[in-house]
Amino acid sequence: MKYSVIDISSSSLSFIVADVDGGSAEVIFKDRITLSLTQYMEGKSLSARGTEKLISAINAAKQKCTALGVEKAYLIATAALRQIDNFGEVHDAAAQATGMMIKLIDGKAEGRFDLMANSGYATYDRAVLIDIGGASIEICDFADPSEEGTKFLKFGIFDLNRKFVDDIQPTEDEAKKIKKYVKKKLAEAELPKDGAYSTVVLVGATNNAVYDVYADYAKTEGEEKRIDIKQFKKLSAHLTGDPGRSALVLKSAPERIYMLTTAAVVLNAIFKRFRPENVVVSDRGVKEGYLRFILENGEGEEYNFEGEPHEKSQPAPVKRGRKPTGKKPKSETRPDGAPKRKYVRKKKQDESVAGKEQSAPENADVQTEGDAVDGAKE
């Protein structure tokens, strides 16, 4: 059976299509539709034009899913829609036009899903996961994927831009202020430093966009996405001061022109604190993690491609901020009748899992067998 998870962010609508067989899923298709929601804001509300563009993007994704034989799809959104004042209206309009319900994911859930999707990196020595979002920055220690091991800085790129940036991109001075602010916040959060983490795993759309610009700047080659910190520092300096910086961003990530330089400055500050040996970029994140969560919990506001769309004809009740409950499910079985998995809090690295997990980051599979990460259920 094919499932899809569609994610609305501030600069794109991205989706994955996965072949689901029992409890496991293999991602077979990924795509992205540019959608600069930031450009369609009127104050803190999404404009009518923005809502039209959103609906058009959702419908385009649906069309692709239909062509690929998807049977169930899930539509999620993070900070981009979480923060708008008129989410209710936007949600209703989108539900009316597309038949799909938008599920808002909060920062903590995002963190959990990111970890679930990247559990393979848990076998790396002293690895930490970082996702830079519009409204928060999450820093998750793979060695302690519980809530205690996950830090959320309660500001993101949007907040930094609002506070420090006058125009579209920060100037050199503005970048210095951002860096100072982030440095202070990292210290206040009592995050480890100076080699405490050996590997930084960057996830999320913004980090991936930063990587695309970095890859162009540093002329990197090869399949594995790695960042050299010294080169990254040069990129960050280029983005905050040099002519040609805008052309570089517009070439690789035009829809992220508002966020990219600020994100690079933030990452620089984080690298300076952690001083990791390795920085890798994963292209798996919330969508893959959410899919895994769905398969394991049987929850989620699904859209069925077979027959009538789910709840299409009714004005959809606004369901905001519905977090993954983390509660023990009422039923011990999934909707398809298979027993649900039980979770064990991971204390040590499991040697028998390590070999399998090592290969997980190499491809886009969402693998649930053998994983024992507590995240969704506590």
């Binding site: 540019t34 959608l35 600069s36 450009q39 369609y40 034009r49 039209e52 563009k53 006058d166 125009d167 579209i168 991109q169 002519p243 040609g244 805008s246 052309a247 961003v249 517009l250 070439k251 035009p254 829809e255 022109i257």
Partner: protein
């Protein structure tokens, strides 16, 4: 408020109509606004060449082709190259700020939009308008200039029919469109072409020959083939642009149209001629449709400025004037989709695409 208007890239009918609409809208709705024409496109912004415009400048130009502001081509790639210690981009931004502009309207095609996005990223307030006879700007159903060129290209094909029929010739009409086939496709259908060759559908010489022979065997002694400038032989589909140009040069051919005409002459045994309307397609006065579209787009863009909405480009979508973010449009090309209804209709009435 101080606003500037510039027209950049290739000229086309409709530019003056847009300039007029912007000017009149601002004069009627915000009379204190100072409107400046920037001479010769981005060259004017680089060199600081502006002139104050008054109500008289916007009169009598609705139906005038070309652009009263002049235009030039300043490739996007060259905007950030170092030149005497600075770059063209830096000069433009400096002039924008020094002169105190509150907004610049950029009327242009894909390349102009890329530079517009660059200027916006550097803090300039920009509103774009989609100009091209190619109709290849992403995010808008139609660009101004397209319909005027379509009328011209269609008339060319119309007129070729009589001479083709009289002489029993196969006429190849080369239509503008280096990357996309909108103009060739629409003009081909509207003009009654028998074969239409567009860049999006690589063509095979044998298939073209088959289509021609079918018509001849069916009793039609002449053929009309509409060929886009950028039409691609299926044998050259993996060639880069330079490699294709090289292939043409080695055979002393100007374009693929010449290559095709020569091959048909040699292999199908019919008399062929090549007709290249060229820049006639850009010239002349805008059609009624383009005057209307340009007026709607220009007025809408002026209102966007008054509403403080920048970093966007005006568009027409499903008959309504709207806007798209510059960052969503810049660098993207709107190709003719393979499953286009228009292509389907053309095939269903027997037009061959050489594939």
């Amino acid at each position: 408020m101080k606003v500037g208007i510039l027209t950049s890239g290739g000229d086309c009918p409709g530019l003056n109509s847009v300039i007029r609409a912007i000017g009149k809208h601002l004069i009627n709705n915000s009379p204190e606004t100072e409107i400046y024409g920037i001479t010769d496109g981005y060259a004017g912004l680089i060199d600081g060449e502006f002139r104050r415009m008054s109500a008289e400048d916007f009169s009598g130009i609705l139906n005038v082709g070309g652009t009263i502001l002049g235009t030039s081509r300043r490739p996007f790639k060259q905007m950030t190259l170092p030149e005497n210690g600075t770059t063209r981009l830096e000069k433009m931004v400096e002039n924008y700020k020094k002169f105190g502009f509150d907004c610049i309207f950029t009327l242009g095609g894909a390349g102009t939009h890329k530079t517009a996005a660059l200027l916006f990223a550097e803090g300039c307030r920009i509103i774009g308008l989609p100009k091209t006879i190619d109709n290849d700007i992403f995010g808008t159903d139609t660009t101004f200039g397209f319909h005027s060129a379509l009328d011209i290209a269609t008339e060319c094909i119309d007129r070729i029919h009589t001479t083709a029929a009289s002489h029993g010739r196969t006429m190849f009409v080369e239509i503008m469109g280096n990357k996309v086939g909108w103009l060739t496709l629409y003009a081909g259908i509207a003009g009654g072409a028998d074969i239409i060759l567009i860049p999006e559908i690589p063509f095979n010489l044998e298939k073209v020959a088959e289509a021609l022979k079918r018509r001849i065997e069916g009793g039609k002694p002449f053929n009309i083939v509409a060929v886009a400038e950028g039409a691609v032989l299926d044998s050259e589909v993996n060639f880069k642009k330079k490699e294709r140009a090289f292939a043409r040069r080695t055979l002393n051919e100007a374009t693929v149209t010449n290559h095709l005409a020569q091959w048909v002459s040699d292999n199908v045994g019919v008399e062929t001629r090549v007709v290249v309307p060229g820049h006639i397609q850009r010239g002349g006065n805008p059609s009624a449709y383009d005057r209307l579209l340009s007026t709607r787009l220009g007025s809408f863009a002026a209102q966007l400025c008054l509403d403080g909405k920048f970093g966007v480009t005006a568009a027409i979508v499903n008959g309504q004037i709207t806007y798209n973010a510059l960052t969503e449009v810049a660098g993207k090309t709107k190709f003719v989709p393979a499953d286009s209804q228009v292509i389907r209709a053309a095939r269903d009435i027997g037009i061959s695409f050489g594939d």
